[in-house]
Point group: none
Chain length 278, copies 2
DNA sequence: GCCTGTGAACAGTTTCACAGCT
DNA sequence: AGCTGTGAAACTGTTCACAGGC
């Protein structure tokens, strides 16, 4: 190895891996905490521990930003905070609108970490006339009719959707038409947007299901949690492959499909994500 | 903690890739919608469009579960719903506790998709005595002092933390000590947990920062106008007709670190943001 | 012909281990 | 000595393209 020509691009190559970008906020948070404690420098090892990643990964991540550390010493906390903030675009102000002011929308509006960094809640929007004018987190809720005007007047490019699933796509279309190019979607729906618009989603139900998957696996091993694991009725389902020992318990009966609680998916309307009274 | 090399037991279970597991809930949701409309079968192409992924990926994902489709025809909706539910462990009942009943905790408690599948909110816990006894989503809030008893009595193995960041680790420790082995963390903190405990986190602030990063990029390229891009930014139309079917853009997802030593996962998937010349 | 299932190519990410600076 | 920065290896995930059954 050590093939000569260690000439590096000198400047950050036009592309920080997505996985790295996703970790920068984490490093930033850890660094901010250090900064508040007036810690001047950190080693990759210490910072990695604080961020919950391993040091090699952290160093690799930072290497995509440039060489901001000092060999034999570590990284200058303040400097790194600045560099990462800049890289993430947090040195500028990002007006954000939150659409759908139910419990979730209110929680988001009140979320501190929100305003602390470059983000500023420019407006809260809800379709319920009864909500109009009501103050939430110190901001008066505005009606959906004003959506386009709000986006335009405030130069909003990031929108947060916290409406019921049924309203999400429509709200999304309006946001995009009005100029929003980044959307954070909390509604349990797949949004379709034109090219150039970024959508990230946060889906409670999906996270829980992923946990359940792993939880189920654990139960198969040993020392199960105390719980009542369904009294396990052997399921003797056709075993697909010669899969190794996999927990096979589980009841053949699944949640009633038409129970009282609707779990409407992206149906034409109505679903219950937690927001919107109506 | 020991020096790395504590590679996880390599769970010899029939390995379903983590990325696939993260998408199963998405397929399940799309399938449930089809099921409600009494659609008997779907092709990988149709289902993929509904779930917002590409068909090859979907087929590959399903191939890890077994061969549940019929060549020349497609997949039987009901059968697939059952198989995926089973794989995710949703055919059994998962009592869940939510700790921290503020706006967010209340939103979660009211979240429909929560109870609709195997999940059942077994208890709501809050440290504020003023909250004790108050009904939220039809369930009386209990005091933190009862935490251990609640976990044990209900056989809870999944806990949701929606407390302020400062209380999260402590709550986490108590949950784990009481027997919880899967945690969904909404507090903006890195939780450290012993081996064997799964932690997934949902962090609003991180998602926004990732969006800001991409948003900043977009703004910077407007002037440069490399050969790519420059494409239809002129969407600005009310009707999303143009987009929709074709290469559903979509956005990246999130990835996250691990907590504590160097165990677990904590990163859903990552996916299709790229520029892919079609 | 239609559509699934999958090996193989490709792309992205993590980890290793060490060169090189301080 | 200590610690960063980084090629290269190892691994994970995605896409291609077509074999094979309906």
């Amino acid at each position: 190895m050590a093939t000569g020509r260690t000439h590096r691009p000198a400047t950050r190559s036009r592309g920080i891996p997505e996985a790295t970008v996703a970790r920068l906020p984490l490093y930033l948070r850890a660094l901010t905490a250090l900064s508040e404690r007036s810690v001047p420098t950190v080693s990759s090892e210490e910072l990695a521990a604080a961020a919950g990643v391993n040091s090699a990964k952290l160093r690799k991540d930072f290497s995509y930003l440039g060489s901001y550390g000092t060999r034999g010493v570590g990284y200058d906390v303040e400097y790194l905070v600045y560099q990462i903030s800049r890289e993430l675009g947090l040195t500028q102000d990002w007006p954000v609108v939150i659409v759908g002011i139910g419990n979730l929308g209110a929680a988001l509006a009140n979320y501190g970490g929100f305003a602390s960094r470059g983000f500023r809640v420019a407006a809260l929007i809800d379709a319920d006339p009864a909500m109009t004018g009501k103050p939430v987190a110190g901001i008066a809720v505005q009606h959906t009719d004003e959506l386009e005007k709000i986006i335009t007047d405030n130069g909003v490019s990031i929108g947060v959707i916290a409406t019921p699933a049924g309203a999400a796509q429509q709200v999304c279309d309006r946001l995009v038409a009005a100029g929003v190019t980044s959307i954070l979607n909390f509604a349990p729906t797949v949004l379709s947007v034109p090219d150039g618009v970024d959508v990230r989603k946060v889906d409670l139900s999906i996270e829980l299901q992923i946990l359940a998957f792993h939880e189920q696996r654990k139960a198969g091993e040993e020392t199960v949690a105390p719980d009542e694991v369904a009294s396990a009725q052997a399921a003797a389902q056709d075993t697909p492959g010669a899969a190794a020992a996999a927990p096979a318990p589980l009841a053949p009966h699944r949640a009633a499909p038409a129970a009282g609680t609707d779990n409407g998916r992206q149906g034409p309307d109505g679903d219950v994500p937690a927001v919107m009274p109506a």
